[in-house]
Structures are given as structure tokens and as C-alpha cells.
């Protein structure tokens, strides 16, 4: 199936958000995730099963004024 992550389309197999983040070595990092316009709390990473067409935004903190 296909999902969009930070604007780029990726093809992946069925999996949980947690698994996806873990593959990207993002698990445990200071990040926040929005799925289809809604925040996904860290606590629910494991319960959320990615679906075809999901749009994810994964962000972190950087320097800014």
C-alpha cells in the first residue's frame, strides 16, 4: 500500500505506526506525529495500524526565532 510521509509517497506493507517509526529509527526520538490531520499521541503508536492513503507528518524541534 502507499502512504505519504512528510510529503513523499512511500510503498510499505501493512504495519503499525510504531513499527514504521522503529524501522526509520525514529522511535524514542523527540518527535510528534500527525496522521490525516490529527495528532497521534505517543501512547497510541502501537495501536495505530497504517492504512493505504494515510498522510503522515513527522516533526521535531529545531532552532527558530
Amino acid at each position: 500500500m502507499q502512504i505519504s510521509v512528510n510529503g513523499e509517497v512511500q510503498t510499505i506493507g501493512p504495519q503499525s505506526l510504531e513499527t514504521y517509526l522503529s524501522d526509520k529509527s525514529l522511535l524514542g526520538r523527540r518527535i510528534a506525529v500527525e496522521r490525516n490531520g490529527d495528532i497521534v499521541p505517543k501512547s497510541q503508536f502501537s495501536e495505530v495500524i497504517l492504512e493505504d492513503g494515510d498522510v503522515l507528518e513527522i516533526v521535531h524541534a529545531i532552532g527558530g526565532g
Binding site: 495528532i39 513527522i58 521535531h60 524541534a61 526565532g65
Partner: protein
């Protein structure tokens, strides 16, 4: 100084608020922020580079949320909707921390605040439980409206972001100070220490700056200068300046002179 300012539910020890952009590296960022004595430090929220090395240093490693009061901003957002989404991501990122700096600016080179979108975003964020420190123009009416909406601090620009031109319209800043009850913090436009002192002498509760420190030849030294400038301006405001006089007035007695 032992005086503090109250911004919503936060009690701040320093009247200097600083940004973390434009530094050479995170090390310089950390040293400059420390030298500034600030406890409120702004940060931005951006997409994580998926490919990146997991060990790459992160801003939050140098600017620890345990030590500083982080103030995520919505810089780069041109619509109320993007600003609101960004604030929600920031709140999640910081484990529920609800203090945010709202800014919705135009795409034009002035990066001027879009007051219509800003008003709309402020309403949504306040309803959603955020404590909103809002960057805006020096329009006194818009400032009043933002206070009425429930923003915890109103932050009019002193001059365009990153211009370093110093306060362009002290009249409007004074007007805003005369009419608002929440803290008024000048945000953007400061170029050197005296600009910050002038803002504090007008009676502002604080000043937020980034470029003036980050783009000084020696950012750490300028950070120290700014810390003192803010304290100096506040003390001068509290001390009450002498009246200006059209004519000179001798400092030494004009009697008892030898002849």
C-alpha cells in the same frame, strides 16, 4: 534582579526572551542562550528528515525543557490552519506543554504579521486550551482584540523580523501599553543593546529577539550585552527618568565661586 513577569500560568525570571535560529551550530546556540540569562526560549517545528542519522544532535539536547521554558513558534505558517496544526504538533512534541508563540505572517519580503489570520488562529488556539503569546503588528486595535480573545501576552513588532532597525513606531507601542493589561513584549526589530533598552524604558514587560544576538560578530558577548540592556532599561523605567529640558542647567552650584 528579583522581579518577575507573569505570562499566563508561567512566572518568568528574565524579561529577555530569545530565539534559537541563525546560529553557527548548536554549541554556539547553547552558550549564547546561557549567557543571555533568558528562561523563555523559542524553537521551531519542522519535518524530520527520514534518512537522518539517529545520533544527530537535537536542539532539545542543548536547550533542555527541564531547564528552559520552551516556546514553540509557528514561524513559516501563512494561514491560521497551518498555525493551529503546528501548535498541536508542538504540544505533543513537548508532552502537553501548552505555551506557544503564534505568528502568521505574509509571504511578502516584510514577513509582516497577517492580522486577520492571526485573530482567527488565536481564537481557535485559546478555545483549544493553549496559552498564546501572539506576535502581531503595532496596530493598537488589533492588540486590544488579541487581549480580548484571551492571549496571555501580546508581542508587537518593533521593526521587520531580522532587520535590526530598532523601534520604528514608539508611539504605537506606547499606545498599546496604555491600553492593555496583559504583558506587552516587543518581538523582532531589535538590532543592538540600546534598542532593547529603549523598548524597556517605554514600559514594555519584555523583549524577544533572535537575530540581534545570533548575527552579532560575537553572539555570546552580545547575549550578555542584551541581558544587561534589558535589566538597565527596566530599572530606568522604574526609576523614572529626569525631565527633558530645553535649556542647560548647571550640575555644580553657581554661588560661592572664588573671585
Amino acid at each position: 534582579m528579583t522581579d518577575t513577569i507573569q505570562v499566563g500560568s508561567y512566572t518568568l525570571k528574565s524579561r529577555l526572551l530569545v530565539g534559537t535560529g541563525k546560529y553557527r551550530d548548536l554549541d554556539e546556540t547553547g552558550r549564547a542562550i546561557e549567557a543571555s540569562g533568558a528562561d523563555v526560549v523559542t524553537m521551531a517545528v519542522r519535518r524530520t528528515n527520514l534518512g537522518q542519522n539517529p545520533n544527530e544532535p537535537n536542539l532539545l539536547d542543548v536547550i533542555s525543557p527541564d531547564r528552559y521554558t520552551l516556546l514553540p513558534n509557528t514561524a513559516g505558517c501563512h494561514t491560521a490552519e497551518d498555525a493551529v496544526r503546528t501548535c498541536r504538533l508542538a504540544r505533543e512534541l513537548l508532552d502537553g506543554h501548552n505555551l506557544v508563540k503564534l505568528e502568521v505572517i505574509s509571504k511578502s519580503r516584510t514577513l509582516y504579521p497577517d492580522v486577520v489570520e492571526t485573530l482567527s488562529a488565536a481564537r481557535t488556539l485559546v478555545d483549544d486550551g493553549f496559552e498564546v503569546m501572539v506576535y502581531t503588528s503595532d496596530d493598537p486595535l488589533i492588540a486590544l482584540e488579541l487581549e480580548a480573545i484571551g492571549c496571555v501576552a501580546v508581542m508587537p513588532l518593533g521593526a521587520p523580523i531580522g532587520s535590526g532597525l530598532g523601534l520604528q513606531n514608539p508611539y504605537n507601542i506606547r499606545e498599546i501599553l496604555d491600553n492593555l493589561k496583559v504583558p506587552v513584549i516587543v518581538d523582532a526589530g531589535v538590532g543592538t543593546a540600546s534598542d532593547a533598552t529603549v523598548a524597556m524604558e517605554l514600559g514594555c514587560e519584555g523583549v524577544l529577539m533572535n537575530t540581534a544576538i545570533a548575527e552579532a560578530k560575537d553572539p555570546v558577548k552580545m547575549a550578555r550585552a542584551m541581558r544587561l540592556a534589558i535589566e538597565s532599561g527596566r530599572l530606568a523605567y522604574e526609576a523614572g527618568r529626569m525631565p527633558r529640558k530645553r535649556y542647560a542647567d548647571a550640575s555644580s552650584p553657581e554661588t560661592g565661586l572664588i573671585e
